[in-house]
């Protein structure tokens, strides 16, 4: 029995629980499986098909993704002779790990967060900019023309969406007068949700994240049908599974930031007090943040069913010519809101 208690203690040890279980690796894995399945189901429904159904039709084909995962895990990982081996192997792994790293500063409740810092928004924003660089590295190391085209497209896109995302985050922290997620959520609870305070910033952030995590219609860097998964053409087996998961993991992290900055964080469920510490400080607020993030993610994957793919120059034109200006406008709007708050 002592061993069991020890194990339970170990699992509930906050750092381990945070990094491995919720909202860390295991939760993100389950989230990805659910999201990819629902993406395929939604696309199927909208496009007059069924989507995955053959494995367990009663469960609407839900185990399909598990089957895919098992296949990826059992497949041989082929490392071609012409690739640059070290960066080739490191790039997707590092990209996946770093994609999840912003979670170390994103709070899921006022007490449930591993690192307390004054500049958590800054750290999260900085960490989200690294994985695309590793994507470029993967394509470069692959020594394959499709991968190179994918990497080049990604590098064009980075310059567009990163600036927009950072400007929008800057405008929101300007509005809240803080660089800390905790304070940002406090301001929203006292005042209004960020999406109502600055809707332009919310829409701009939403579109820029779709651009950044290669969702349709900005699925330009991966472009399955033109350049065969872009930077990850040469990957196989579990490495490919990992590479495929990167954009979903990044989307999850971006959406957590979206929830914290625009949707009031743990707002509706976080206020309930039941007296049980774990329920009050982890489960209820954590669930409300996670559910909101999942809903936003579902909205993002829904666009796959509707849109085609933009050409790279169209996407860049839209990014620089419209959304960049919208990001600047959102800063102006934040300034106006701050001014109005000062006045009244």
């Amino acid at each position: 029995m002592a061993i069991v208690e020890r194990l339970v203690d170990l699992i509930l040890w906050p750092p381990l629980f945070y990094y491995i279980i919720f909202p860390g690796l295991i939760f993100v894995m389950i989230f990805e499986i659910f999201l990819i399945w629902s993406e395929r189901k939604i696309a199927g429904r909208v496009q007059m098909r069924y989507g995955p159904l053959e494995i367990a039709p009663r469960l609407a084909g839900a185990p399909q993704l598990l089957a895919d995962l098992i296949r990826y895990a059992l497949q041989e990982v082929i490392i071609p002779r012409t690739v640059d081996k070290l960066p080739f192997v490191i790039a997707p792994i590092a990209a996946f790990v770093i994609a999840l790293m912003p979670l170390i500063v994103t709070p899921f409740s006022p007490t449930f967060l591993p690192v307390t810092t004054e500049g958590s928004i800054l750290i999260a924003a900085a960490l989200t900019t690294i994985p695309p660089l590793l994507l470029i590295l993967a394509g470069w190391a692959s020594n394959n023309k499709f991968s190179l085209v994918g990497s080049a497209r990604e590098s064009f896109l980075i310059a567009t969406y990163e600036i927009i995302i950072l400007l929008v985050i800057a405008s929101m922290s300007f509005l809240y007068g803080t660089l800390d997620f905790l304070k940002a959520v406090e301001v929203q609870q006292a005042l209004l949700w960020g999406i109502l305070l600055n809707p332009i910033a919310a829409i701009t952030y939403f579109v820029a994240v779709m651009m950044g995590t290669s969702r349709f219609p900005f699925e330009i860097a991966e472009a399955e049908s033109e350049i065969v998964m872009g930077a990850f053409t040469e990957y196989s087996g579990i490495m490919f599974g990992l590479a495929m998961g990167i954009s979903y993991a990044r989307m999850f992290v971006y959406n957590i930031i979206f929830v914290l900055l625009f949707l009031g964080g743990w707002s509706p469920l976080g206020g309930i007090v039941t007296g049980n510490y774990i329920l009050d400080s982890i489960i209820l607020p954590g669930a409300s943040v996670a559910i909101k993030a999942v809903l936003i993610s579902l909205l993002m994957v829904f666009t796959r069913a509707v849109y085609g793919r933009y050409r790279i120059d169209h996407a860049l034109k839209g990014g620089w010519g419209f959304w960049f200006i919208m990001a600047l406008v959102s800063i102006g709007l934040s300034a106006a809101v701050v001014y109005l708050m000062e006045v009244f």
């Binding site: 429904r45 909208v46 007059m48 159904l53 829904f302 069913a305 509707v306």
Partner: protein, 174 residues
């Protein structure tokens, strides 16, 4: 000379007709709301094929079966076959019979059309599976037997629907 110089990147007309921001936003909203509508009320037109099959129409050019008693061994079917899929052989002395090679057959139906005694006929089956390519060359015994219907298949009838496009109405197997 004038023809070789590159023209403007967009024709004048398309520049004039470029959409304004409001129109673009409207189009996006339209596309997204149509997607949402389809998500809420799906209009599936695909069929779960091996488990559900449509009832094939009369005169469907499926697999070909020989009625051995009617055949008079005239060889016309083997002659007309454009893919050289029909071959005649001696089933008994002075008794020529055709056999079919489904590796070659293109299901054109000429052999059925030309047969003077209607010894050949189509059956509404088009999806037999063979384990190897030798099995696709039939002998007289297999050629005279109608292929069996697979079990556990839901038969549906295809109906053209004005709203939905295609609709599948289940029919009872008998």
């Amino acid at each position: 000379m004038a023809e070789t110089t590159p023209g403007p990147r967009y024709s004048e007309r398309s520049i004039e007709e470029r959409m304004g921001l409001l129109d673009k936003a409207k189009m996006h909203a339209k596309a997204l709301s149509l997607g949402m509508l389809r998500l809420a009320r799906p209009q599936r037109i695909t069929l779960r094929y091996p488990m559900e099959r449509p009832v094939l129409s009369e005169g469907y050019r499926g697999m070909i079966v020989l009625n051995n008693d009617k055949c008079i061994g005239c060889s016309l079917c083997a002659r007309v076959c454009p893919a050289a899929a029909m071959k005649m052989f001696n089933a008994a002395p002075k008794k020529l019979r055709p056999v079919i090679n489904y590796e070659r057959c293109i299901f054109c139906g000429y052999c059925v059309d030309i047969c003077p005694v209607e010894a050949l006929y189509h059956v509404p089956v088009h999806d037999l599976v063979f384990e190897n390519r030798d099995d696709m060359v039939f002998d007289l015994e297999t050629f005279t037997k109608e292929p069996e219907e697979p079990e556990h298949v839901r038969k549906v009838k295809v109906v053209i629907d004005e709203e939905k496009g295609l609709r599948y109405v289940p029919v009872d197997s008998e």
